[in-house]
Symmetry: C2
Subunit: 165 residues, 2 copies
DNA sequence: ATGAGTGCAAAAAGTTTGCACCGCT
DNA sequence: AGCGGTGCAAACTTTTTGCACTCAT
């Protein structure tokens, strides 16, 4: 059901958002469209402030205020377009939840890098455990912490994102 | 190794904390001891503000300031006594990580209730996936979202924590 | 037209920090 | 004495909100 919709690439993120907004009696404004465009222009993880930096204070007609970005992200989250994920150092990060296969994350405590992985067994196992307790699962969030392969071989120093804070 | 220590009930949280502090050249002050006592007096999840409310502004000799509570929680986290977990509605919550068996959480989106569960299969599966990618796992955090059993039978209204915000 | 949406600035919420004073070792 | 710790208040960071104006339907 929702899985099918989520994998149906024929409906663009913007259209998906519009569909959601309609059901809520809300509108797809120019600002919201700009934000969706920007957010889905690549598959990178991003935090709210990064997005605000990219969108606000522009000189052209594609500038959006901080408040509107916050409001839009919240709506996109409710619409199923985005979800919040792992924080390499306490910060929340957004990622696409629509048109992107289900996956989880490994977070390197050394360099802060995020690694995505998908495993069917885990999903079904979680599903099984939940239903066994009468819990109706809608989603899950799994983060594995530790040290990534590159950081485990200390040949030379690598990019320590965590140090850059 | 660290698993063994974590399950060794002969070392109290306070002692565990002292051990950690010594290695850091820090001290187990009266305030820190009060905080550890309070935090380990029961197994409930709590947020920082709740703890501050219980500890600051007291008239007796067991009053601790907000800043000190924040500083102590951070240290206890580093010491392995506490860890942050699921936020039923965006808030971070603390729980015991020391002397308490590994477990994960199901979060009810309806009432906000947290349900703990433990499953060995999941842990080993995660372990397997991580090492397959050369990732050295130290810990994980899994949250399952959905609707809990009580909230699924809509006989009558129940405590909606989420509404109380 | 009309109700939702936007920008701006102020306010809230949550957490950190500078500093003078306190106390353990 | 010397260094870490505490309390307090100010500063910060991040997110939310009130309000007058704008715009999508």
């Amino acid at each position: 059901m929702s899985d099918i919709a989520a994998l149906d690439k024929s409906v663009s993120p913007v259209d998906k958002f519009r569909e959601y907004l309609v059901t809520k009696g809300q509108r797809l404004t120019r600002e919201r469209e700009i934000i969706v465009d920007e957010v889905f222009s690549d598959h990178e993880h991003f935090d709210t402030d990064q997005l605000v930096a990219r969108l606000s204070g522009r000189s052209d007609k594609r500038s959006v205020s901080r408040a509107t970005v916050y409001r839009a992200l919240s709506a996109m989250n409710d619409a199923g377009l985005l979800r919040k994920v792992a924080r390499p150092n306490g910060r929340e990060v957004w990622e696409h939840d629509y048109g992107y296969p289900q996956h989880d994350h490994m977070v390197c405590s050394q360099c802060g890098e995020l690694f995505e992985f998908h495993n069917e067994e885990i999903s079904s196992l979680i599903e099984k455990i939940a239903s066994a307790q009468g819990f109706l699962k809608t989603s899950h969030r799994l983060e594995v912490y530790g040290t990534c392969a590159p950081c485990r071989r200390p040949k030379k120093r690598r990019n320590h994102k965590l140090d850059m804070i």
